[in-house]
């Protein structure tokens, strides 16, 4: 449509004052808000123009060859500058001459049949956007390659004014950007809050009472503290939490009847790998292609469980090929989102509308994952076990191996294995076949068919519409797939870690940044493409990405670099002025306060009350959960039809180990924005709902922790102020001030008055949780202190990393 030029086009009559008037009226029509934005002196394609074109033009005039209108392509210079197919005397863009550029004519015209984008698209350009395009064309319409497809380089460290604030390279970049915005950084955070912050970032746990006491007395160098925390097993657990989201890890197969799956040994491996500080390139290579390494070890094969974590159907009527294709699609999309930061999935059904990725290239990547020796639905094939906790290809793990080459696997005893596998299932065919499997631990892993499998482009992405055959390959716009690499998953991994790969390091560095600061330098961590956000500080992102690669993809090195920066160590205090200039704190002139993650809230409550079971790994556990949730949703079939709550020590495991049944994920986790593990997720949207407040006030596990901590403090025979002080300190990570003591004491007074009069109610309040009660203490005193502690757990500061 764009090329349909009419003779009497607007440019001939839009000139001088008329132009201004039309412009103004156009602006009124299109503008929902005044922009107040100036047109910069020098216009950058990447910064200013591409986002406009991508949003408004590329869907019809971009990479998708099938949907391209009038044969016009605006995402590439050579096409945009060429003679128009439908009007060879004109060009879409004439560099330097907006008034001779059809693009400009079409976005300016008042004629609705001519206007671009067409009104039917529900898209429109603002006055400011039109002006930018005009000025850009006037300045020569210089195209730039998409920033994220150009390999990162280390820029020279920028000069800064407040040089004495700077602690390392990060601060040069951060401070320079801040100063450019008229912002000044905060001072260093108080020792206690800084230590608490570091604890959460490296272990996901609050500092213990002993640590808090120590830092009060002596100066602990942060450098050394960081090293100490790297060496604790909790570090691997903390790092595993977000990797579980990326890897869509769960404890059930995910469809319909949703049976139990034993994929947890793979999760134990992830914790182990982080604790070994396995370099990122190796970490990913093993997960993508451990089975293809020369003489792979069992550990390397176990790592490939990553790509078997997706949902697998067990629905009787399922069509085998439909689901088999779906699994390969899931792996392809996961590679895109998790490692490339590209929305590959948009090219499954057609060429990508925004990024230069063709449908053919999509299926070239898909081909890497298409030869797995798997079934779409196993039970439809003769001879397959029904409802197996692992699906072919799989590996078996013996108890001997967990004492030897796979020591990091926390193998439960056989009674526990049977219990987790069969739960409260009733006897029958499925029961018997599962019982037969209880002796061996099975994990789904990757393994290709000897014969391979030819991959076809699937028309509209549909499993039953194969067209042309394709071979393994990668999108050339990102980086050519070199001839010398094997055309298998190992080659794919090598391609990812090619030193010239523009995305791999940036994407991971960005996510680590996001873990710590809440928002990535690119705030669309799964989309570094045309439609993604531009980095807020590209020089910093690129410097970190290159530095990460130069230092052997060392994750702890990267973390330490960030944690040792002044940017990280500054206080979180907020001023109205800073909110005015930078409401979302993208320039980091303060440490961003962030609500703790679902898992961290649980861990904080358990750790500070002394209930936390520090066991690492093993089958996931079922802590308290409101009654009837699984039962209401189930068909009644399967080993997860009813929730069989664990008891004893299993009730107090870290949030990472909470059992995830995909069709009914744990409510405490979901309420606090955890992923339901349906698919790869690279960020958690943070929301604030009253349901969260209800959970913190009334969830039995918080109430039990409050009771247990109250009993513990009372047993120490400390005075009331001492008890309040100690509880607050453990939970909030700093001593309470006078005002806080006063309010909490008043709370205590209120409740002790109530409970002294009504011991029965005190007993009722105390009757929560399975942890044995200390009956030697007076109930009223216990219950009143419990209420005070419960209040402390509900403080905003308690559940905030600041």
């Amino acid at each position: 449509m764009f090329g349909m030029v009419k003779k009497n086009n607007c440019i001939t009559w839009l000139s001088g004052p008329v132009l201004l008037i039309v412009f103004f009226s156009l602006a009124c029509e299109n503008q929902k808000k005044p922009t107040g934005e100036d047109i910069p002196e020098s216009i950058s394609y990447n910064l200013h123009i591409r986002p406009i074109l991508s949003e408004n033009c590329f869907a019809c005039h971009g990479p998708d060859a099938n949907k391209r209108e009038a044969g016009l392509r605006l995402d590439r210079e050579q096409d945009a500058f060429a003679a128009l197919k439908e009007a060879p005397d004109r060009r879409a863009i004439s560099p330097g001459k907006p008034h001779q550029s059809e693009v400009y004519a079409r976005i300016m015209t008042a004629d609705e049949t001519e206007r671009m984008p067409p009104p039917s698209s529900n898209l429109s350009l603002s006055n400011h956007q039109v002006q930018l395009i005009k000025s850009w064309i006037r300045q020569g319409a210089e195209y730039e390659p998409h920033w994220a497809f150009v390999p990162p380089e280390k820029a020279t460290l920028p000069e800064v004014e407040a040089a004495d604030w700077v602690q390392n390279e990060i601060d040069h970049f951060a401070l320079s950007a801040m100063e450019g915005k008229g912002l000044q950084p905060n001072k260093r955070a108080e020792k206690q809050s800084l230590v608490r912050r570091i604890y959460f970032d490296l272990t996901g746990l609050p500092p213990s009472q002993e640590v808090l006491n120590r830092i009060e007395k002596e100066e602990i160098p942060l450098n050394a503290l960081i090293d100490t925390l790297f060496a604790t097993p909790a570090y691997g657990e903390k790092m595993a939490v977000s990797w579980m989201d990326v890897a869509r890890y769960a404890d059930s197969h995910g469809y319909q009847d949703d049976y139990y799956r034993t994929q947890w040994p793979w999760r134990d491996w992830v914790i182990h790998a982080f604790n070994q500080n396995m370099p990122y390139d190796q970490f990913i290579t093993w997960q993508l292609a451990g089975d293809l390494l020369p003489d792979p070890t069992k550990e390397q094969i176990l790592a490939t469980g990553f790509n078997r974590n997706h949902k697998i159907t067990e629905e009787s009527g399922a069509i085998d090929e439909e689901y088999r294709v779906m699994y390969a699609v899931d792996r392809t999309n996961t590679l895109g989102k998790a490692m490339l930061g590209i929305t590959l999935e948009c090219a499954q059904c057609h060429d990508h509308k925004y990024d230069p990725i063709s449908q053919e290239e999509y299926f070239q990547v898909f081909a890497f994952f298409n030869s797995v020796a798997e079934k779409g639905i196993e039970e439809a094939s003769p001879g397959f076990s029904k409802k197996s906790p692992a699906k072919l290809p799989l590996m078996e793990i013996t108890e001997g191996e967990t004492r030897d080459i796979l020591q990091f696997i926390n193998m439960p005893d056989s009674a526990r294995r049977v219990q987790t596998l069969l739960a409260n299932m009733s006897k029958g065919t499925n029961y018997n076949s599962l019982l037969a499997e209880a002796n061996v631990l099975k994990v789904s892993v990757m393994g290709d068919l000897d014969s391979g499998r030819t991959t076809f482009i699937l028309d509209r992405g549909a499993y039953d519409a194969p067209t042309e055959p394709v071979e393994e390959g990668a999108p050339t716009a990102i980086l050519d797939f070199p001839d010398h690499l094997p055309k298998n998953r190992l080659g794919l991994a090598q391609w990812l870690f090619d030193p010239n790969h523009p995305l791999t390091a940036r994407v991971y560095v960005n996510r680590v940044w996001q873990e710590i600061f809440g928002i990535g330098l690119v705030d669309t961590p799964g989309d570094f493409g045309m439609q993604g956000s531009l980095p807020i500080n590209q020089a910093l992102l690129d410097w970190l990405a290159v530095d990460f690669m130069e230092n052997g993809w060392d994750i702890q090195y990267l973390l330490k670099k960030i944690l040792m920066s002044a940017s990280y160590q500054q206080s979180a205090a907020v001023t109205p002025e800073k909110i005015e200039i930078d409401p979302d704190n993208r320039y980091l002139s303060r440490f961003p306060r962030q609500r703790l993650k679902a898992e961290e809230i649980r861990d904080l409550v358990l750790a500070s009350s002394g209930l936390l079971n520090r066991e690492i790994g093993g089958p996931s556990v079922k802590p308290y959960q409101p009654e009837g949730l699984w039962e209401a949703a189930t068909s009644g079939r399967g080993n997860l039809a009813a929730y069989q709550q664990d008891t004893g020590k299993y009730l107090y495991r870290r949030g990472l180990y909470t059992f995830i049944k995909r069709t009914v994920p744990p409510p405490q986790m979901i309420l606090f924005d955890a992923s339901n593990r349906d698919a790869c997720e690279v960020e958690r949207v943070k929301t604030s709902t009253p349901l969260q407040a209800l959970a913190m006030m009334n969830d039995p596990f918080v109430l039990e922790a409050s009771r247990v901590l109250a009993e513990k403090l009372l047993a120490e025979k400390s005075s009331l102020p001492e008890s309040i002080h100690s509880a607050f300190y453990r939970i909030v990570g700093r001593p309470p001030d006078d005002k806080e003591i006063a309010v909490l004491t008043a709370t205590h007074t209120d409740f002790i008055e109530v409970y002294n009069k009504d011991q029965d109610r005190a007993a009722q309040v105390l009757a929560v949780g399975e942890y044995p009660a200390n009956d030697s203490l007076p109930v009223a005193v216990k219950a009143a202190l419990m209420q005070v502690i419960s209040l402390i757990y509900n403080l905003e500061e308690t559940n905030t990393k600041s």
Partner: protein
């Protein structure tokens, strides 16, 4: 909203309040459990101000009650009467009809596909002379209030993806449910109740389970998640104070909590702290509002009689219908019911009868009850499953027993109220009930129509996520104008 917050003496989270003002708060819908934080911008999940501006046109309906018949009830024993199937009983499904269409993994290997007609009789009712089977005597009496669509079709052939497709517009999950879209688009009419609630029940027939992804907010903020109401002591998770704790004690505790949080705000200055205080106040209000909205004890006997004896038993479909009316009356935008047990691969005659007994009276009563309260006009009621069932028998066919496999190519649903033409039968299938002959309605058309009745243009209700715009109807769907008043 400003008033709402000021009423509670709270400082609005100024930064976000102002930033949301700048995109025209008046026109942008408020989330069900609104906290100003919802409008946090700059993310890829930002409210698209150009697109929202809702409602897009005058709504006919304000609320939806969706009676989802989970498992896929047979259209051939409910609303799509096919005498020809009785004539051809036991004969092979002609290839001229099937035309190589795919079958599920359950019957693909069946050597024969014997046609089977309904064992149950049909009669015509109402001015539209609509056929209804004897299994649905109460529904038969309200045919002049409902519109039966006999030409629904869908894309998936199995429960999980088909159900997910109906509820979220995509087979794979991870997309917002229809109720979440409405919550996002229209917000709640009641600040103290969620805009989107879910009620579950089970029949005795072969069931297929439900999955929380069906009421998931997908990539929309979690404020738009469907909130499951259970029939237990806590209608909403963690709603009740612990045993032994009284309301006035909770109030006092919250006052002290607010004091401490305010104290922290004075030191740190982060407006998020005040958002948290508001969050706790809303939770406190919910503790009163939810029990009120779910209390059926004050309903008169004649109402229970209308919905049937089951309506006195919490957790039944009938009780859920009554509860749905109450929630809807209280301003809950979207009440989603699921009733399990409609998957009749075998023993269809007995199972279907039992399922119909569970739902027939209460479904009809809900329509009548809304009508007598003058609420039917503004409430859209929907009844139906995720696909239809085959015209041939799955498994052994005998004179009095048979089963039917999944059939996505045609099935029947009904809708009532909310600007849908009453007393209408729309669409038709061939004489063997295998293919649609007139007015096919795709699931996306159905979704577009539901949104339309609520004043939302399905092409404009979009949300930006991962670099592209998403909508409930993906890239297709057209409003079925023929069935609108």
């Amino acid at each position: 909203m400003e008033k709402e917050l000021l009423k509670h003496g709270l400082h609005v989270n100024r930064r976000h309040f102002l930033s949301s003002m700048s995109i025209g708060l008046g026109s942008v819908a408020l989330g069900s459990l609104l906290i100003p934080d919802l409008f946090r911008s700059t993310k890829d999940g930002v409210v698209d101000e150009a697109a929202l501006g809702v409602p897009h046109f005058a709504p006919k309906a304000k609320r939806v009650i969706y009676l989802f018949q989970n498992g896929a009830p047979s259209q051939l024993e409910s609303f799509d009467f096919k005498p020809k199937l009785r004539e051809m009983w036991g004969e092979e499904l002609p290839e001229s009809i099937r035309q190589g269409q795919r079958l599920t993994g359950m019957t693909a290997s069946q050597s024969s596909f014997p046609l089977v007609g309904s064992i149950y009789d049909f009669q015509q009712y109402g001015e539209a002379r609509a056929w209804v089977s004897e299994l649905f005597p109460h529904t038969a009496k309200i045919v002049d209030d409902i519109c039966i669509v006999k030409s629904m079709h869908t894309e998936s052939i199995n429960h999980d993806p088909a159900l997910t497709f109906f509820q979220t517009g995509a087979q794979q999950g991870n997309r917002p449910s229809m109720g979440s879209w409405l919550s996002y688009g229209l917000g709640s009419e009641n600040q103290n109740l969620p805009a989107f609630t879910v009620l579950l029940s089970k029949g005795k027939g072969n069931g297929q389970g439900v999955y929380s992804k069906l009421w998931s907010n997908g990539f929309l903020p979690a404020t738009h998640q469907g909130v499951q109401f259970s029939n237990g002591e806590d209608p909403v998770l963690f709603l009740n104070n612990p045993d032994g704790m009284r309301k006035e004690e909770r109030r006092k505790m919250l006052d002290q909590l607010a004091l401490l949080n305010e104290h922290s705000f004075q030191k740190v200055g982060d407006p998020e702290i005040q958002t948290r205080v508001a969050q706790y106040e809303m939770a406190y209000r919910m503790q009163t509002a939810v029990p009120e909205a779910t209390d059926l004890s004050k309903e008169p006997d004649r109402i229970f009689d209308m919905y049937g004896e089951d309506s006195r038993k919490p957790g039944t479909f009938a009780a859920n219908c009554l509860l749905a009316r109450k929630l809807s009356e209280s301003g809950v935008r979207f009440v989603q019911l699921y009733h399990q047990g409609w998957d009749q691969h075998g023993n269809l005659p007995s199972e279907m009868a039992s399922q119909a007994r569970d739902v027939d009276q209460a479904s009809a009563a809900l329509v009548k009850d809304l009508k007598q309260r003058g609420l039917l006009e503004e409430t859209l009621v929907i009844w139906g499953g995720e696909f239809g069932r085959t015209n041939y028998s799955q498994g052994k066919l005998t004179r009095d027993n048979y089963g039917r496999d999944h059939h996505p190519r045609c099935f029947s649903i009904w809708m009532a109220g909310g600007g849908i033409k009453p007393g209408m039968v729309y669409g038709a299938t061939d004489e063997l009930g295998y293919n649609i002959t007139t007015n096919p309605v795709h699931v996306h058309d159905f979704q577009a129509t539901v949104l339309h009745q609520l004043g939302l243009d399905h092409e404009k209700l979009i949300y930006r996520h991962l670099g592209r715009k998403f909508r409930l109807t993906d890239v297709s769907g057209k409003v079925i104008r023929d069935i609108l008043t």
